[in-house]
């Protein structure tokens, strides 16, 4: 299941972070997200294989820790989406595409200040819906 989703801006400033476990290791999840940002930067700046994979938005598995797997996605505007999952494999970018669509709608809000945290409750609800449906579809 998905433990946590995060949106990080192009200056590595957090725009949205939401955990979906009731456990008290929310801080640990934040820390994992923060560490994964370094991996994203490294992946983008030093590609092991250049060519078709260089400019893909879906970065795949960033790094596994003992309990969690971390997946990343980098948009054209250098906004990073990070998800931390337990036991769940993210094989393609479908989840991230829906997440991206919700993000674009949240940012198109004229009252949203770019660079500040996303405070829209609609966005939070949509993200929860996407996470729930992803969890159900992968379990079945």
């Amino acid at each position: 299941m998905i433990a946590c989703v995060a949106v990080v801006g192009h200056q590595n400033n957090p725009l949205y972070i939401q955990s979906f476990t009731e456990a008290d290791d929310a801080l640990k999840l934040h820390h994992i997200v923060h560490c994964s940002l370094d991996v994203v930067d490294e992946r983008v700046n030093n590609p092991k294989k250049s060519g078709p994979t260089l400019n893909e938005t879906f970065l795949g598995l960033l790094y596994p820790t003992e309990n969690y797997k971390v997946y990343g996605y980098l948009t054209n505007t250098k906004v990073k989406f990070i998800i931390v999952t337990t036991h769940l494999d993210v094989r393609d970018a479908d989840f991230f595409r829906r997440f991206h669509a919700a993000y674009v709608d949240a940012v198109s809000n004229p009252f949203h200040v770019p660079g500040k945290k996303i405070t829209s409750t609609t966005f939070a609800e949509r993200v929860s819906t996407i996470v729930k449906s992803f969890g159900l579809s992968s379990a079945g």
Binding site: E56, T57, L74, T75, T77, V79, H100, V104, S108, P110
Partner: protein, 174 residues
Amino acid sequence: MGREVSESCIDSLLTEMVSTYCTRFYANKPELAARRIEAIGYQVGHQLSERYTMERPRFSDHLEAIKFICKDFWSELFKKQIDNLKTNHRGTFVLQDNRFRWLSRISLDSSLEYTESQDPSASAENKAAQSTSMHLYFPCGIIRGALSNLGIPCAVSADISNLPACSFVVRIKA
């Protein structure tokens, strides 16, 4: 998910925006009005670039981003592409649109406007050029906002020396 409005609504909104900022909010201060309108365009361009780059892989360099502005971005906004792109390969790009959609309803005939009897042609042309150029701050802001969001800080200005063609000069900040 999205609802659409007719194009005449957008045209009216833009015309009224320029008119309000120039005659009511910043009357007699055209530079301030221009800066405000350009800032509005900046935010719009910022948000639009987020939406229109959604499905695409990342750009590898500045030229790719400018080409995206000329083709996909311009098509989404104006239903056509930029007609001509020139560059000096040192950070300056000129995007030429031979029939810019938002200027298509502006009258080009300046002879109807003069009120002074001394040297009417020069001042009438100046006034017409100045009021036309006020309408271009918004698209300049849109281009600047879109490019900034793609990581390319720049300055954008418009050149209307041969209407109805309109050129946007993008200078990338080094």
